[in-house]
């Protein structure tokens, strides 16, 4: 749907119709003392030529290092066709047009996206996406309170492998609404849940597990799902979409399956872009669909019995229910979702399995190489997907700095969040055997010469 700006004539006619002189007058109820005339630290606007030059200079400073960092965002090969199609005029927009009479293409794309995400996660229904994986945890937590009304505790139990940033974001958003987040005990050897110390009788409204975990390990999600349901809690699974090509989907965990699945959609065709924009996804069982936040596109038939697409289940959204809406999310990450839909279509099932298998094999190769170096060992035992935590005999930060000088982004320093002298590394399908060997050689060199 093209966007055609109003002409000055349109604007003045509209203002005249409502009896207002200027657009500024529409905002005159805002007290002048609350108006900000200028933003400190934001420089004045510059022209296209100047901004292009500035951005080229900044981009050059980034260089083109080899990236072995994961920890929530993952470098995957994005076929050129993905963004070639996503940036066509029919899709490329800062605003997602939902009007059924004008946006059948956009709505069908979202519908196809929802279908693909429900297939990946093994659940019944998907929304049109959320802002990112971390805020999706906040939304899922609030949703569990609405859907699991028997439990009044507002207590959400998190597996030890839940991304610490996700917990911070969820607590910031949902904490003010009476929800509390508590961690389950960790088994030191595996890094996973310590099933011997699960707290019975805490009346959690939901239990959250991340698979693969933040540190790359695989938890016993079946056992945890069953335990959560025995406790009267809902089970929320945080999943990596690439991993679902290999791992059993949340809908099939345990005897009854996860109730809600969420995650970060960035691995599906969205570039890392220094942190965003990304998109969050959310799917759930059919019986909880009315408590699901955000937009949902449905397939229907028009007056001539032809298939068509329209937003559905809007009755609990903000524009109708105001302060009683299920969520203040009234939008989705339309452009990112368009890219993800094209990415999944181009790769297909076999392609996604290929990406997942190669990423896993590359990370296994990297782990083997690095663990062959004196002073480097696995932090946890057990299987991992495409990320692995290592334990070093010295601080991580100086090593990462020295690696960066050699154009290698060597991993994520876990010191402040998980364990001292611990490093999280990831090698996706974008890395060749030579890349991995080069990284291992550089790491060995730095460790041996203690130049770090």
């Amino acid at each position: 749907m093209p966007f055609i700006p109003h002409t000055k004539k349109d604007t003045s006619e509209m203002l005249q119709a409502i009896g207002v002189d200027s657009i500024a007058d529409l905002f005159d109820e805002i007290p002048p003392e609350l108006m900000i005339e200028h933003l400190p630290h934001v420089p004045p606007a510059v022209g296209e030529m100047e901004i292009s030059r500035l951005m080229r200079r900044r981009a050059k400073m980034d260089g083109s290092p080899m990236c072995f960092i994961g920890a929530g965002a993952y470098e995957h090969h994005i076929p050129t066709a993905v963004w070639d199609i996503a940036t066509r005029g029919e899709f490329y927009s800062a605003y997602t047009p939902y009007q059924a009479e004008a946006s059948q293409g956009t709505l069908q794309t979202i519908y196809e996206y929802q279908t693909m995400i429900t297939e990946l996660t093994g659940l019944d229904v998907s929304n049109a996406s959320l802002y990112d994986g971390a805020s999706a945890l906040a939304e899922a937590s609030l949703m569990s309170v609405r859907a699991n009304r028997r439990v009044k505790s507002g207590r959400i139990l998190l597996a030890p492998g839940v991304n610490p940033v996700y917990e911070q974001v969820a607590a910031a958003i949902a904490g003010a609404q009476g929800l509390t987040f508590e961690r389950l005990e960790q088994d030191a050897a595996s890094g996973n849940i310590d099933f011997n110390s699960l707290p019975d009788g805490r009346e959690p409204v939901a239990v959250v597990v991340q698979q693969p975990s933040f540190v790359g390990t695989l938890d016993d999600v079946d056992r945890l799902t069953n335990w959560a349901h025995e406790q009267g809690a809902m089970l929320i699974g945080i999943v990596n979409p690439t991993s679902l090509a290999l791992l059993r989907p949340p809908g099939q965990w345990g005897e009854a399956g996860a109730d809600i699945a969420i995650g970060e959609g960035q691995p599906l065709g969205v570039p890392m872009s220094s942190g965003g924009p990304y998109f969050g996804f959310m799917t759930c069982k059919q019986k909880h669909v009315r408590q699901m936040p955000g937009r949902i596109v449905g397939r229907t038939t028009d007056l001539e019995d032809k298939p068509g697409f329209a937003l559905t289940l809007q009755a609990r959204e903000q524009h109708i229910r105001r302060s009683k809406a299920t969520s203040n999310i009234c939008t989705n990450q339309g452009l990112m979702v368009t890219a993800a839909t094209i990415y999944m279509s181009l790769l297909g099932y076999d392609g996604l399995v290929g990406v997942a298998n190669t990423s896993q094999a590359n990370t296994a190769l990297l782990a083997e190489g690095l663990c062959g170096i004196e002073g480097v060992d696995r932090l946890y035992e057990g299987p991992f997907f495409h990320e692995v935590a290592l334990k070093l005999d010295r601080p991580v930060a100086p090593l990462l700095t020295a690696l960066a000088d050699r154009d290698i982004l060597g991993g994520f320093d876990l010191t402040s969040t998980v364990a001292t002298n611990a490093l999280l590394v990831c090698a996706t399908e974008t890395k060749t055997k030579a890349d991995i060997e080069a990284y291992v050689a550089a790491f060995a060199d730095l460790m041996a010469n203690d130049s770090a």
Binding site: R149, R150, R290, A315, R316, I320, R321, K324
Partner: protein
């Protein structure tokens, strides 16, 4: 507008109350309310045993247009809910005073009938709204 059942009491939130022989009170929404909401697609019912406060939220009726709260006209405890509405919410549209009942409440106090409307008063109330 169909005739209002004469044995019921009404509220200005368009709910009706029927006093049962066992002392409990059956509550639903009026024909006027269902007609204004349009075709109902979902009813969110409270749990049996829940204590409700007068004017507190008690249930949600959702049509294709909007989800609306049903407020408790009296304080008390929920003794029964109309489970049939889970599969068949349009019973409220087709039979608002019969099969479309929503909850049955055991009142915690004597009911202040002066705060409620007789059929005639309610008829006048909705006639004025329509004007």
């Amino acid at each position: 507008m169909s005739d209002l059942p004469g044995d019921l009491l009404y509220t200005n939130d368009h709910e009706w109350l029927r006093r049962e022989d066992d002392g409990s009170v059956t509550i639903g929404i009026t024909d006027h309310a269902q007609s204004a909401l349009g075709d109902l697609v979902y009813v969110e019912l409270p749990e049996v045993g829940l204590d409700i406060e007068e004017a507190g939220e008690m249930a949600v009726v959702e049509s294709v247009k909007a989800a609306s709260d049903v407020y408790a006209p009296i304080s008390g405890s929920i003794v029964a809910v109309n489970e049939a509405l889970a599969d068949d919410p349009e019973k409220i549209n087709s039979d608002p005073y019969g099969d479309g009942w929503i909850v049955r409440v055991q009142p915690s106090d004597t009911i202040d009938e002066s705060a409620l409307m007789s059929p005639d008063d309610y008829q006048t109330f909705i006639d004025e709204l329509d004007d």
